[in-house]
């Protein structure tokens, strides 16, 4: 297994939107992702931050409140997960980190055959990225404890759906602990 870790949309705006019932779900996964990234760096696993970089008045907003606007402070990765010098930053315009981006080509250049997905929201951008990852011929792992939706029920539904989808070995749901065990053993 030659994994790469993707961190989806862990951006400041998500943590300060007061129109959402709660950002508790997002806050909860920050230390989990931080632990994962620290360990991934020790194992020389590449890390890619896939970040919404929306243009104003874009179709994707559907006339609703705009957020994660290109160039704004709200579209920056949250302080606690601040990218390191060696990490990759990938601006994206839509749900999936593969949609109209060069992510597939970057992953192949990095020699990755397995894509490990974390971030928010599980049922939209994380899920779309996971599906596209499989479709781009990468083994794909969604880390249950490193992803969240703004309401816990949507996260739970999505994870249950993925378990039922029976897409293993192409797409698997696991914990960060399980993944790190597999990844650490890859050279032994």
């Amino acid at each position: 297994m030659k994994p790469a870790v993707i961190v989806v949309d862990m951006l400041k705006d998500a943590f300060k939107r007061r129109d959402l019932p709660s950002t508790e779900e997002y806050v909860r996964i920050v230390p989990k992702i931080k632990g994962l990234l620290d360990r991934a760096r020790e194992l020389n696993i590449p890390i890619i931050f896939a970040c919404d970089s929306f243009l104003e008045n874009d179709f994707i907003f559907g006339g609703k409140k705009q957020y994660n606007i290109r160039g704004s402070e709200g579209a920056e990765v949250v302080e606690d997960l601040k990218p390191n010098k060696g990490d990759h930053l990938l601006p994206k315009r839509r749900f999936s980190a593969f949609f109209k981006t060069d992510l597939d080509q970057t992953l192949r250049l990095l020699g990755a055959d397995t894509v490990v997905i974390t971030g928010i929201n599980t049922h939209v951008c994380v899920f779309a990225t996971a599906m596209d990852s499989v479709c781009n011929d990468f083994y794909t792992i969604l880390l249950e404890d490193c992803s969240a939706s703004r309401n816990v029920e949507a996260h739970r539904l999505c994870i249950e759906l993925l378990r039922q989808s029976n897409l293993s070995p192409l797409l698997r749901v696991m914990s960060s602990e399980e993944f790190l065990k597999e990844a650490a053993g890859r050279n032994s």
Copy 2:
């Protein structure tokens, strides 16, 4: 509203796979889709059949049983939904009907602003097509009674997830009856 209807993967192989618990769910939606297509043709709504067209030993099979192979009889649209002369046939290699295809360009050439999605499986190809449709700047409608998963629970979970996603007006779940009422009223 200028809709186009997409029929996803209503192919012979899905109706004869004996390794699946049941194709009952698939059979159930055939007359519903047929009714929709008949009415759509009366209303001059374009119809696109998006059909798996897999190459043998492709990554997407994950080493499992292969189906919907390009050029095989199993990859043909089921008899009851046989495409008309004016319909469009779109071979696809992965889940979403937009993935590495010219569907976005076809839809814009047809003048469509709304994509109406039907077929199987709700929680994989139908869902992936719906997400990509939104990401390609089309208003998107998933018809609940014209889509199915091989187990009813996966279909139910996916529909519930979409309702919770709050992506309206970009992505809506409705019945074929509701859609046809909206579509018929579009010129009045």
Copy 3:
């Protein structure tokens, strides 16, 4: 070298368009391509026919005479180069055989690392396919004697331009004889 051969737009319409000064240039390369394909099949080199498959009134026509229309007889490969059972047929909507198609994925599934391009017109579809081939990380070879433009000057200019481009080893211009020598030697 693990090559795959692409035959671009050798379609009936090109050979019967009376509005063009001459189809002599096209006719001239048919036996050259035929010889190449016969030898490629002996060497188990995959062959892909990339064929215009235009929708009526599409933007690409620019209001001019329409040709290579999807489903029409004119959009079929010319008789002398008729595809064999094992060959691949790839419909395309624009110049490059990679544009909104799954060709990159097909080539990787076939294990190809080198794309050998033939067909018409050298300075439009052949050239665009060659550039996209390089950009998709394939070593690319344009066969000078198996490609043509409707006027010989455009072909000549394009070949000269490619020679000056200094894109070797990514993109090379050679004769079919030179290529077959390299390909035959690849296992020795």
Copy 4:
């Protein structure tokens, strides 16, 4: 006509590469492009800087000298053409500014129907961008006096080739003066 201007690869590295015979050709077009951009801003024509943003050791280098590396100073737009606050910056990984980018979606969001292309090198990235622009359904104009190749002969061959291609009205070659005259008259 609702134009948008693209400036391709006017980056610092191109102006300091001592392994090239001369950067004279590049230097020559800087004031021409600057004049164009100043006037475009007055006319509220959107401006997009499409800039190579290569990863180290990428396939595209073909083992040759590397340049325009992501994050390096050499990959910045040259001082004399420094982007304004309202301009768009588009990192790209390959020749065409449309290749695995969201440029098509940006242009449609901006309401553009015509893409005006400038920059370097005429016969590689400028040409590839022009071809892809047509293929994405935009009327396309290549400005002869605002584009250059590192050797004047390659530029000349490419312009001559485009003139012979007879792709008008989809793709036209003109001078910046001719374009600005057309653009200024668009509202009258």
